[in-house]
C-alpha cells in the first residue's frame, strides 16, 4: 500500500496542485523521503513562492555591488581590496516557541550565511518586535530572546553593535526576531555555492546530524494556533562553541586553495544545501547517507535529509586535496566526512544501507518550485488626522512620559547583555544612530543599522516601505557614513489573504522606489510570511538592515552633545505630522492617522547636506529625528552627552505638541559652534534646505522657554522603563 496518502501530503504542507506537479516531475509516486524533500524545498521559507514575483522588482545593482541576492549573502565592494558581506534573516516562529534556542540559532544561522562566503563576521545586529508589555508571555519572550542572542553571539566572539526593539499587541502571538551579520573578506576571495567538476568530492563538516529541527522550514511557513507549542521539538539547539570552531576552521581552510564551492546547512539542512549547490552548478550529486556523521543511531534517510541540526557545512573540494582540509578540521576537532561525489546526471541520488532511497531530478525541484501571483487588493489607507484633535500636553511633561514608554525607552537592559566590544574595533557602540566598527587595522569603518516603523507600514504600506529604507539611510548618514546597500527582512502575515498580499506588494514597491532614489540597492534578504496566530496578523514589518562606509575614522560623529555653548540646529522641514506617531499613541491614546510622507528627493538632498557637514568636521554631534519627534531627539543627545540644552519655541503656526513631537521625515539635529552654525544656516538657505537654530547646549537641565526639567530626571525616566518591566513576575 502506498505510504503517500492525502493525509501525509497535507502534513507536508503541499497543496493538491503542488502534489500533481510532484507526480509530473517524478513520473511516478514519490517515496516518503522524496516527498519530504519536495516539501521542504517548496516551503515558503525556502522557495519564496509567494514573494518571488515582487522581490524581482527591487533594485539590486550598483557599481559597488559584487554579488546581489541569490547567494548566501550580499557582497559589496568597500574599497582597498575589501568586500563587505551581509544579510539579515528571521527566526520568528522558533523564537516564539522556544525563545532562547530560537533566537540563538537565528544568530548562528545568519553568521554561517556570511562566513560561508569567505567573510570573517565583524558585527551582529538584531531587530526585535514583541507583543504588548501587558501580555502574559511578553516578559518571558524578551528575557529568552535577549539571553539567546547574547548567549550565542558572546560566545562566538562577534560584537552585537546595535539593533531595535519595539512592542505592539499585534505581535502578541508572533514575535519577530530578525538577526543580521556583517563580515569582511578580501574582494578577490569570495566563495560561492555553485558546484563544479564531475567526480569532485562532496564533503560534510561541522557538527553531527541529529533529529532536531526536522521540518523547521515547513513550520516557518504555516500560521500558528494553540497547538503550536507542541512544535517545540522542531526548534533546533545551538552550540556557539562549535560555531566558533567552525568559523576558525573555515577561515583557515579558505586561506588555502582547495575549496570549489561551499554552502552552509540552514533551513532544510542537507537537502537545500546539496540541491542548491548542484542546481547552481548544473550537476548531480550521489550521496551515501551512511557517511553522514550522526548523533543518534537508527536515523532514516528522511530524518538525515530533513534534519536542521546546527553548525554544519557542505563543500565541494578540489580532487586530491581532501587531506589538507581534513587536517584543518581535525585540528579544530570538528567532524569531516566525504559523503558524496559530483555527477553529470543532474539527479540527486541518495543511498542508505547500500540501497538507493531517493532519486530526484535537481532542477525541476530547485528551480521549478511554484511561483504564485497571489491575488492582492490595494490596502485601505488610514485617514489623516488633524494635529489639533490630538491631546496637547505641556512639552516637557510629555517628553518625560514618552522617554518612559516601551518604544522610546533606553534599550540598555538589552544591549548590556550583548558583548558589543569584542574584536576590539567597536568605535560606535549601541545607543546611537548606527553601530560603527572599524575595519581591522585600517582607518575606515563600517556603519550598520536596522530600521522599520511598522505603525507607518500599517497605516500605509507603500509609504512605510519607503520610510524604512529612508530611515536606515538617514541613520547611516547621521554618523557620517556613505550609505551603500541594504538587506531586507520582510515579515508579514498570511499571503494567501489578498489584503495581506496587498501589504506585501505595496511595501516592496515603496522600498524599491526608495532604494532607487537613494542609490541603495538590495543585495540580500529574507522573507517571513504566515506571521499570524488564530487569524490575527502582525503589523507589516519590512525590516531593513543597511551598511555604509566611513572613509576616515575621524570624519564621524555620535549623538552626544559634547561642548557647552554650542548651537543646536534642526535640518529639514517640521510640519507637525502627528498621524501614526508615538506621541499620538502614548499621550493622545490613538493609533489613528496617516503615515508621514517621505519625499525622497528631499531626503537625499538633506542627507547629502548633513553628511558633507559631518565629513568636513563642522559639526560635533548629529542625530536623526525619528519616532517621538524633535524633542525626543534633542533629549537623547543631551542624555547621551550628560549635557543640558536650552531650547526656544520656534515662532511657528504649528501647535506646540505638533512641532515638538511630530514625525516629519528627512530631519536631523546637529550641534556646532555658534560660528559654524551661522555659516551652516546661510549655506542651507542657499541650497534651499530648511534649517533653524532651536537652542544652545549647556547646563544640567533641558529647558524650553521658561519650563525646565533636570537631565537626571529625564535619564531616570529613559533608563528605568525596561529594567522595571523586566523585573516583574515572569509567566510562561
Amino acid at each position: 500500500m502506498s505510504q503517500i496518502t492525502p493525509d501525509v501530503i497535507k502534513q507536508h504542507g503541499l497543496s493538491e496542485s503542488e502534489y500533481k506537479l510532484v507526480l509530473e516531475i517524478m513520473g511516478r509516486e514519490p517515496n516518503l523521503t522524496e516527498l519530504g524533500i519536495f516539501s521542504v524545498m517548496w516551503s515558503e521559507h525556502c522557495s519564496y513562492k509567494s514573494s518571488k514575483k515582487w522581490l524581482k522588482t527591487l533594485p539590486t545593482k550598483a557599481p559597488w555591488v559584487i554579488c546581489g541576492p541569490g547567494e548566501n549573502a550580499g557582497v559589496i565592494d568597500i574599497g582597498d581590496g575589501l568586500a563587505c558581506i551581509f544579510k539579515m534573516e528571521s527566526h520568528n516562529h522558533p523564537s516564539f516557541i522556544e525563545p532562547y534556542q530560537g533566537a540563538a540559532t537565528g544568530v548562528g544561522g545568519i553568521l554561517r550565511d556570511v562566513f560561508t562566503m569567505g567573510a570573517r563576521p565583524v558585527a551582529n545586529m538584531n531587530a526585535l518586535r514583541f507583543g504588548s508589555p501587558d501580555h502574559a508571555k511578553t516578559r518571558h519572550l524578551v528575557s529568552g530572546v535577549v539571553s539567546g542572542i547574547g548567549g550565542y553571539g558572546n560566545c562566538v566572539g562577534v560584537p552585537t553593535v546595535g539593533g531595535e526593539c519595539d512592542f505592539h499587541a499585534a505581535y502578541n502571538g508572533n514575535i519577530l526576531v530578525n538577526a543580521m551579520t556583517v563580515g569582511l573578506a578580501p574582494a578577490d576571495r569570495i566563495f560561492y555555492s555553485a558546484a563544479a567538476g564531475v567526480g569532485n568530492p562532496v564533503v560534510y563538516v561541522g557538527s553531527k546530524t541529529g533529529r532536531d529541527g526536522i521540518h523547521g522550514a515547513t513550520m516557518a511557513s504555516a500560521e500558528f494556533n494553540e497547538d503550536s507549542e507542541e512544535k517545540r521539538p522542531t526548534v533546533q539547539v545551538g552550540d556557539p562553541f562549535t560555531e566558533k570552531l567552525l568559523i576558525e576552521a573555515c577561515m583557515e581552510l579558505m586561506a588555502t586553495d582547495v575549496i570549489v564551492a561551499i554552502q552552509d546547512m540552514g533551513a532544510a539542512g542537507l537537502t537545500s544545501s546539496s540541491f542548491e549547490m548542484a542546481s547552481k552548478g548544473g550537476l548531480g550529486i550521489e550521496m551515501d547517507l551512511d557517511k553522514v556523521p550522526m548523533r543518534e543511531v537508527g536515523m532514516s534517510a528522511y530524518e538525515i535529509m530533513l534534519s536542521e541540526s546546527q553548525e554544519r557545512m557542505l563543500m565541494v573540494l578540489k580532487p586530491g586535496k581532501e587531506d589538507i582540509a581534513k587536517a584543518i578540521f581535525d585540528k579544530w576537532e570538528l567532524d569531516f566526512a566525504i559523503v558524496g561525489v559530483l555527477t553529470d546526471t543532474k539527479h540527486m541520488v541518495l543511498k542508505r544501507h547500500g540501497e538507493v532511497v531517493a532519486d530526484l531530478p535537481i532542477d525541476p525541484l530547485a528551480l521549478a518550485s511554484p511561483e504564485y501571483d497571489r491575488p492582492w487588493v490595494e490596502p485601505k489607507l488610514a485617514a489623516p488626522i488633524d494635529a489639533k484633535s490630538v491631546k496637547a500636553v505641556a512639552p516637557l511633561e510629555a517628553l518625560k512620559k514618552l522617554l518612559n514608554t516601551p518604544d522610546l525607552c533606553s534599550k540598555r537592559w538589552i544591549y548590556s547583555q550583548y558583548d558589543h566590544m569584542v574584536m576590539g574595533d567597536t568605535v560606535g557602540r549601541p545607543g546611537g544612530d548606527a553601530g560603527v566598527v572599524r575595519v581591522h587595522g585600517a582607518n575606515k569603518a563600517l556603519a550598520i543599522t536596522t530600521d522599520c516603523t511598522p505603525r507607518y507600514c500599517q497605516a500605509n504600506p507603500y509609504e512605510g516601505g519607503k520610510q524604512a529604507v529612508a530611515e536606515a539611510w538617514r541613520n547611516l548618514t547621521a554618523v557620517g557614513a556613505r550609505p551603500l546597500a541594504v538587506t531586507d527582512n520582510l515579515n508579514f502575515g498570511n499571503p494567501e489573504k489578498p489584503e495581506i498580499m496587498g501589504q506585501i506588494v505595496k511595501a516592496i514597491q515603496g522600498m524599491g522606489e526608495a532604494c532607487v532614489a537613494l542609490d541603495f540597492p538590495v543585495v540580500s534578504g529574507n522573507v517571513s510570511l504566515y506571521n499570524e496566530t488564530n487569524g490575527q496578523a502582525i503589523l507589516p514589518t519590512p525590516a531593513i538592515g543597511a551598511v555604509g562606509v566611513i572613509d576616515q575614522l575621524d570624519q564621524r560623529v555620535g549623538i552626544a552633545f559634547e561642548q557647552a555653548g554650542e548651537a543646536v540646529l534642526v535640518i529639514g522641514a517640521t510640519a507637525g505630522h502627528l498621524g501614526a506617531s508615538i506621541y499620538a499613541r502614548e499621550i493622545g491614546g490613538t493609533e489613528a492617522g496617516s503615515a508621514p510622507v517621505v519625499d525622497l528627493a528631499v531626503e537625499r538632498k538633506n542627507g547629502d547636506f548633513v553628511r558633507a557637514l559631518i565629513t568636513s568636521g563642522r559639526v560635533t554631534a548629529c542625530h536623526d529625528v525619528s519616532g517621538g519627534g524633535l524633542l525626543v531627539s534633542v533629549a537623547e543627545m543631551a542624555m547621551a552627552g550628560g549635557l543640558g540644552v536650552m531650547l526656544a519655541n520656534e515662532p511657528t503656526t504649528l501647535a506646540e505638541h505638533a512641532y515638538w513631537f511630530g514625525e516629519d521625515q528627512a530631519r536631523y539635529v546637529l550641534a556646532a559652534t555658534t560660528a559654524e552654525a551661522a555659516a551652516i544656516l546661510i549655506e542651507a538657505a542657499q541650497a534651499g534646505i530648511p534649517a533653524a537654530m532651536i537652542g544652545t547646549t549647556g547646563g544640567d537641565a533641558l529647558r524650553l522657554d521658561a519650563a525646565s526639567i533636570p537631565l537626571a530626571e529625564l535619564v531616570d525616566a529613559h533608563e528605568s522603563w525596561l529594567p522595571n518591566f523586566m523585573s516583574g513576575p515572569e509567566s510562561n
Binding site: F241, K244, M421, V422, G424
Partner: protein
C-alpha cells in the same frame, strides 16, 4: 618583552590582546595553542578572554586542565609574569594560580559595559604606570565575574595586599551600586602572593586606544613593557 598569548578553542579575545601587546612592543606575540606542552623563553604569558572549550562546564574549569596550562603553571612558579583577563582570570583561579573563585554575576545576566576601578597597588610590573588610588574606566563583559573567597582566604587576600583593582563609582567610592557582579569587597582583580600573576575581569585591551573611546587600559601594557623590557 617577549610575550605569548594562549589560544584555547573558544578563546575570542586572543587577537584583541595581541593587538594591545603589539602596540607597545612593536612585535607580534607568540600565539600558543592549547595542545602545546612547552613554551619558549619568554617574559609574559597572557591567558585571554573568551569561552574556552565552550565553558559549558564551570567557566575556565576545563581549560585549567589543558596541556598548555601545566606549562603555564610551571612558568608562573618560576617567576614568569602571567596576566589573565576575564576568562583568563577564571582559568587562573581554576588552575590554582590565583585565590578565590568567580561565580555567576549576582544579576544572573551577562553584563557588558564600562566600569570604574580603583588601582589598589602600583608597585607591580602590571600597574607601575598607574597612580595608587587612581580611578580608571575599563569595560567588562562577562556572566561569571562574581569574585568569592572563604572568609579566611578573603582576609588573607586583603592582609597580603593581593587586591589589584576594585569596582568603584566615578569618584572612586567603593559602593554597592558600582559593583556590577556582586564581587566580595568589590574585587575586580587579584595578584598571587608573589605579585607575578594577575587576574582581572575587566578588559584593559578594549580601552587602550583613543579611537575605541578611552585609553585607561593602555598603562597596563606600558607598565609591563617597562618592567619586562
Amino acid at each position: 618583552m617577549k610575550a605569548a598569548v594562549i589560544v584555547f578553542p573558544g578563546s575570542n579575545c586572543d587577537r584583541d590582546v595581541a593587538v594591545s601587546l603589539e602596540a607597545v612592543t612593536g612585535a607580534k606575540p607568540l600565539m600558543a595553542w592549547h595542545r602545546d606542552t612547552e613554551l619558549p623563553r619568554l617574559d609574559l604569558i597572557v591567558v585571554p578572554g573568551g569561552f574556552s572549550y565552550g565553558d559549558y562546564l564551570r567557566s575556565g574549569a576545563m581549560a585549567a586542565h589543558s596541556p598548555i596550562m601545566q606549562e603555564v603553571k610551571r612558568r608562573a612558579e618560576a617567576g614568569v609574569h602571567v596576566l589573565g583577563i576575564c576568562n583568563g582570570f577564571q582559568i587562573l583561579t581554576e588552575a590554582g594560580l590565583l585565590p578565590g573563585v568567580l561565580m555567576r554575576n549576582r544579576g544572573l545576566k551577562f553584563c557588558c559595559k564600562d566600569v570604574h576601578l580603583t588601582v589598589s597597588r602600583n608597585d607591580t610590573a602590571f600597574a607601575s604606570k598607574y597612580r595608587k588610588g587612581q580611578v580608571i574606566r575599563i569595560p567588562i563583559a562577562h556572566a561569571d565575574g562574581n569574585f568569592f573567597a572563604s572568609p579566611d582566604m578573603l582576609s588573607r587576600i586583603e592582609d597580603e595586599g593581593q587586591v589589584a583593582f576594585r569596582y568603584c563609582d566615578e569618584e572612586g567610592n567603593l559602593t554597592d551600586s558600582a559593583n556590577p557582579n556582586g564581587s566580595l569587597n568589590n574585587i575586580a582583580g587579584v595578584y598571587n602572593m608573589q605579585g607575578n600573576v594577575l587576574g582581572l575581569m575587566p578588559h584593559p585591551e578594549r580601552l587602550a586606544e583613543a579611537e575605541l573611546g578611552g585609553t585607561d587600559g593602555r598603562p597596563m601594557f606600558d607598565s609591563l613593557l617597562e618592567a619586562l623590557k
